[in-house]
Amino acid sequence: MIQQVITQKGKGNLVIENSVRTKMYLKGIAVDKYTAASPDDPAIILKVREVAKEFGISV
């Protein structure tokens, strides 16, 4: 889900994708801590959904 936000927001621009990653860290989402195999954490899922909404994208 985190990667979806980064990819959708970056729209193929690698510089913007990296900046979205950084912004997510600063919003309190430790991007590198989670992979597709990570167990679902409801608090983090909620936070990522909120960030996605702020960015105007749906995940």
């Binding site: 600063l26 919003k27 430790a30």
Partner: protein, 365 residues
């Protein structure tokens, strides 16, 4: 010449502006950026009168850098003509502590250059400058909102003031308190941004912020325990001694390879106040401060492998004070004397978010 820098000490703002006008005679600045000691009264109005055709933005300062010089009681000016900045759009957001919606402002700024698609298609040409009036203490929330409504990169810093002065930011002949000045520059030859904090990871142990008051910049808990207790544990020092380590061992959010420093203020209300709020859920590391001059030299040399038009250095006041204590101001200024450059001692720096104890540098190519 696309960029000129001057450092002026005037008897008053009018004398300062007159000297600036003489020093820049024949030069037609598109944008004039200045950092003025807060001893000057309405320097923005005097400069606007002297340079009516230029966009003029600035901030008060505790102390000023210009090329290889460091001083206080002065005004450091960078004038950029159409050889370096093709166009610039300036906006002021007032009352930033009220958490203003920035969408409209950024739509205007994107629109000034033909719309957001045009700007992002030429990402390497456009860069934002942001200067905060620091008494609002709202920079981290503002930067978060700014980063949400634009993909443009904004760098800058927060105003400081001389001992008896008032902190202000300036735009086009007016002064503002509790405000942010935003400027989007369309550069002619592009830009680079570098950030150096001379802070390194002391402990690989990640601490999770489990309780904090982001808006009031108070940190309460790491990993469900009192933050001071955990901080003392990482450093291996007694809890009652932790304040002795606040300057030398700040905290850092580590985003991939970038460190975003958060410095301590004081123990208060069962927590520790910081100079930048931390949202719950953030993972941080405890840092140690290194050699500012060596780290800055490496950062500059690695990033600037060409002859730049000019550098704008937003250097944390903590770093200035530390360098003064260690007699490192001279060697530090020699590094910046290699380029046309200006800077000032900031009350916080801006790069994606609000940061502390860092130097953020905008390089105009």
């Amino acid at each position: 010449m696309a960029v000129k820098t001057v450092l002026i000490k005037g008897t008053d703002s009018q004398d300062m502006a007159r000297q600036a006008s003489e020093a820049l005679a024949g030069f037609q600045p598109k944008l004039l950026l200045f950092f003025a000691s807060s001893i000057y009264v309405h320097p923005e109005a005097a400069l606007k009168e002297a340079f009516p055709g230029a966009e003029i933005i600035g901030s008060t300062s505790h102390s000023e850098y210009c090329n290889s010089d460091f001083t206080d009681g002065a005004v450091s000016i960078m004038a950029m003509d159409s050889g370096s900045v093709e166009d610039v759009c300036v906006r002021v957001v007032e009352n930033i502590s009220s958490d203003p919606d920035l969408r409209g402002v950024l739509e205007e700024m994107h629109g000034f250059f033909g719309g957001v698609d045009q700007v992002l298609a030429n990402y390497e040409s456009y860069v934002g400058l942001v200067m905060f009036e620091s008494s609002a203490k709202s920079e981290e929330i503002f930067m978060d909102r700014l980063g949400t409504v634009t993909d443009l990169l904004f760098v800058g810093g927060s105003s400081s003031a001389a001992d008896s002065g008032e902190s202000l930011v300036y735009a086009n002949g007016k002064s503002y308190s509790g405000a942010a000045v935003l400027a989007v520059l369309k550069t002619v030859n592009g830009y680079d941004v570098l950030k150096t904090q001379s802070a390194h990871i002391l402990s690989e142990r990640k601490l999770l912020v489990t309780k904090s008051d982001m808006r009031n910049r108070i940190l309460y808990e790491f990993d469900g325990r009192p933050c001071g207790e955990v901080y003392a544990e990482v450093l291996g020092v007694p809890l009652e001694k932790i304040q002795d380590y606040f300057v030398s061992n700040p905290l850092g959010v580590v985003a991939d390879t970038e460190i975003f420093v958060r410095t301590f203020n004081q123990i208060q209300d069962g927590g520790i106040t910081l100079h930048c709020g931390l949202p719950e859920g953030t993972e941080i590391n405890v840092l140690e401060i290194g050699n500012i001059v060596e780290d800055t030299k490496k950062a500059l040399d690695d990033a600037i492998t060409y002859e730049p038009a000019g550098l704008i250095n937003f250097n944390c006041l903590y770093r200035t004070l530390e360098m003064q204590k260690e007699n490192l101001v001279g060697p530090y200024c020699e590094l910046f004397g290699r380029y046309p450059s200006i800077g000032f001692s900031t009350n916080g720096e801006a790069f994606f978010g609000h940061i502390n104890e860092t130097s953020t540098v905008l390089v105009i190519k």
